[in-house]
Symmetry: C2
Subunit: 230 residues, 2 copies
């Protein structure tokens, strides 16, 4: 059955926003048709279309199905946005397919970009969620400065010298409901003083295999590796 | 030092093609400058620029440095091209960064695309090689029909029902110089009869985690997972 998303759900009614209403019309859905709606928080709702207007639709709720979180860990990725938006966006799409629970963008000394379009990322997240058959939308945080992030317990994926362990060595076996926080730097990597400060404050250096990965490849690499630890 | 690529190397001379010569000029390299050249087959060559013309350059060889293959396995990916070229191209770029030795494109019943631009993929491969600090170019095979591929020993990543094992269960621990062949279907997956025939002929069904992955995400997922088995 066709799948929609809504962040506006009341007791007996689901409201579709302009994007999802347009999608509904493209699929030639009409009043009385049954559809399913994700709320991005674990609910899959069986609905019947009550009314479709130009920019909104109201759906009558038939049944609510609650799904638990699929993964036994919570993956929070901290990453410096790449110069090209599209590289960050595809990483985000793919990481959601594989498993991502929260993302925080960071501004570092070598960052060439200190803005992200979170609205666009939210739309990508909804689309990736529907496509990959999952029930939980990742949390998208606004960009923040590196110094504002709690370093303790962070896995720091930097390319500088120094002893590092692999993700598997650091995370396997997974603790129950493990919270895994990994931080990836910008195209020019973290500065030596950023690395030194993070480690001094309790971050743990991690390596991501033997090759030099681009920022966006590194983000997806982590999502895949963690999914393999289950 | 600046890195170039050449497929045309003689005893004392490296010849750059038009693309690399243009790149050389953009970087304002001139006669007498030293550069390094990859041959994509394990050689890193120290050179001095002898002459630069409009579409070609000749470099004098100073020293040849041979590097062994970095990975203890050989990963051959068989994949149906996606409708959108760019999705296949980024998967290819990222898989090379992480580790890919050979790629064969396949035409299946549900394929909507039966052509790939191998020239473009070769340029992407050269760029990914330089970027990720590796020495071996992956082999790019032309597209072939599913029926022409040897099924025996193939790991078949399909989304249909049936018993499947994970990549780790099937490949870990890695045999010395393991040859790992994985096949990924098109957007609409393999047909039931294709799956049945491949398995009857000796393919081994494999699952790629608990989510439904897009074709191109699945390709990269395999490259990352294999790199984690080392």
């Amino acid at each position: 059955m066709q799948l929609f998303f809504s962040a506006h759900i009341e007791e007996n009614t689901v409201f579709l926003d302009a994007d999802e209403t347009r999608h509904c019309k493209v699929l030639r859905k009409t009043e009385g048709d049954q559809v399913q709606v994700l709320d991005g928080k674990g609910l899959l709702i069986d609905c019947r279309i009550h009314s479709i207007r130009k920019d909104s639709a109201e759906l009558e709720i038939i049944a609510r199905n609650r799904y638990p979180r699929q993964r036994p860990y919570y993956f929070h990725l901290y990453i410096a946005p790449t110069k090209q938006n599209e590289r960050m966006e595809w990483m985000f799409e793919k990481a959601i397919e594989v498993g991502l629970d929260e993302i925080t963008f960071i501004e570092t000394e070598h960052s060439e970009k200190a803005r992200v379009n979170t609205g666009r990322l939210e739309r990508i997240a909804v689309s990736a969620l529907k496509q990959s058959g999952q029930y939980y939308l990742p949390k998208i945080n606004p960009i923040c400065k590196l110094g504002q992030v709690e370093a303790k317990g962070m896995l720091l994926a930097h390319c500088g010298p120094g002893e590092k362990k692999s993700l598997r060595e650091l995370c396997y076996p997974l603790a129950d409901n493990a919270l895994i926080r990994i931080m990836i730097g910008p195209e020019g990597d973290f500065s030596p003083s950023e690395i030194e400060r993070m480690i001094r404050q309790g971050a743990q250096p991690v390596h991501l295999g033997s090759s030099r990965l681009r920022t966006e490849t590194a983000g997806l690499y982590c999502a895949v590796m963690l999914s393999g630890l289950v």
